[in-house]
Symmetry: C2
Subunit: 327 residues, 2 copies
């Protein structure tokens, strides 16, 4: 694993605004939390060794067969299981900058990074850039590689068209990763899943440990899917607010924010470093941002932000304005 | 993973007595459950990517350095991480019958089972037999293998002396697995850890995914360790009750129960099969036992039981008596 991921609030006492995690900021989790409080006795028993009940609900919800679904302990568990299963292809490729765990997982299984390797990873929308890739590009990747892994963890946070589960399973060599952590804004519970053709799912499940998904994550996923709960809502308004945040930051001297198709965005600061900006905002404003300098190909000047509420976004804009004015 | 693990209550509606899981039957979990209900908002944030806070508390509690501890998502996660890390030694050995996941994890990483292989696994107390191995035997194993993995998940459920954490880290080639699931009777949360010399812990951590341990499991572990809570108590009385159960079952014609040093025991039934006994007890008595026929070297006649309360044990004894009398 890479050290220096976002959402490191545990390092900074006094954080009140967390721009470092790409999760919807004000999710409607009260009903789920009530349900989990009522279900806390589930800690007393083992969960299902293989989470078949949840997989059936996911198959129904996403319109595929249950043999085409595998639930995991978060999308990151999915990434490591995929790298483990396909380690014998020996080489992988990614489009930098992107989520560091694809390369970390592959390297931990002895794989080498090479252009045009058999196993290709793509994150769509891409972390940390916020860009989305169109269908033509994705189809070309699928044609040019033995296996294409598409991490669609952020799919609920964009209005751009992405590959559907039905399209994915038709391809034969595509493995899609999805994140209930992101869809339902529950990163503490660890819940993700994979959609792929049944023969690939069988290979992936062969390497999975029993009881991989804990009982409260299973209960949350089952309850949310069965009740068709909407936890994150009005994505268009949220994405408009993200654009407003980007536009406002782009007016600050020394700050440049890339175009984004989602709720988070990649920025640079000059002449100072992202690490110093992060430290300043945490200590003086209770604001946490993501120092993005540990993404391969990025620099010490890169940081990542996910839009929060308009009020919090304004506080961030003013804090960065002040930081740039006073240096 | 092997299919057919115990605690499969989800398959049998109406189970009121669960002898199939080797967990202390009436743990004092009310305070922990209250604390988790108050902490349910932790689902909204990522846990620490690497569970360093919990590892510091574990190091203190077990009297080793924090560099000698690695927290995992249950003991099973530990087993798979160990197999993954040492897959390049290519061969493993176990003492059958034992917990099936050692062999399953090793095989999923392409390793072969061989006598006297470099990587040796031992479960102490052993699942499913309930026997413990003495220090002389364990030291011989450590001398005769490149790496010795000792799974002490059930150590809190025996009065026999076992290898201490301090002894384990002194050896240099011993890796101990422990289970907070078992110590605190919280199998739904998934929480275990590894104790080993620092160089081995570093190798193991290099292959671990971030956010492997969910936020509520971390919170439970940290709270329990910080408050020195005793969740399972009066183990001597519980083990006496296990011996009473064994003695009573051994008086039933066709039933034979092996000697045990812990709370669970391995039994055989004749002339019927364990599967038929399990099915009968589940349907007619709300009692769940563990069909042990899928342990390598065991037969269709083997089943495993963990002692419950005296009242429930009496109901089990009578139910098996009746089953044997009426065949």
């Amino acid at each position: 694993m890479t050290y220096g991921h976002g959402d490191d609030t545990y390092r900074y006492p006094g954080i009140t605004m967390n721009f470092s995690s790409n999760i919807f900021p004000n999710p409607h989790l009260e009903e789920l939390e009530d349900h989990l409080r009522r279900s806390i006795h589930l800690i007393r028993n083992y969960p299902e060794p293989a989470p078949e009940h949840l997989e059936r609900l996911l198959a129904q919800d996403y319109g595929v067969d249950k043999e085409q679904v595998m639930a995991t302990s978060g999308a990151t568990d999915a990434i490591y299981i995929i790298a483990q299963t396909f380690r014998d292809v020996h080489a992988f490729c990614v489009n930098h900058p992107t989520f560091s765990e694809y390369a970390d997982a592959c390297r931990s299984f002895g794989m080498q990074e090479q252009p045009d390797a058999p196993l290709c990873w793509v994150c769509n929308p891409n972390n940390p850039t916020g860009e989305t890739y169109n269908g033509t590009f994705i189809n070309q990747l699928a044609d040019n590689h033995k296996f294409l892994i598409i991490d669609q963890s952020y799919e609920d946070y964009t209005l751009q068209p992405l590959m559907t589960p039905q399209e994915a399973v038709r391809h034969g060599n595509i493995i899609q990763i999805r994140s209930l952590t992101k869809r339902y804004a529950i990163p503490g519970l660890r819940l993700g899943f994979i959609i792929a053709p049944a023969p690939l799912i069988r290979r992936l499940k062969a390497g999975q440990r029993p009881w991989a998904v804990n009982a409260l994550a299973l209960e949350a996923g089952q309850w949310l899917l069965a009740h068709h709960h909407r936890i994150i809502d009005d994505i268009p308004a949220y994405l408009n607010e993200a654009q407003r945040l980007r536009d406002a930051l782009n007016t600050i001297p020394g700050i440049s924010v890339r175009h984004t198709h989602t709720n988070f965005m990649l920025a640079t600061i000059q002449p100072d470093t992202a690490a110093r900006l992060k430290d300043h905002l945490a200590r003086n404003h209770g604001i946490l941002i993501r120092d993005a300098s540990n993404f391969t190909t990025l620099t010490h000047h890169h940081f990542r932000l996910a839009a929060q509420s308009p009020q919090h976004n304004d506080l961030l804009i003013n804090a960065i304005k002040e930081f740039q004015a006073n240096r």
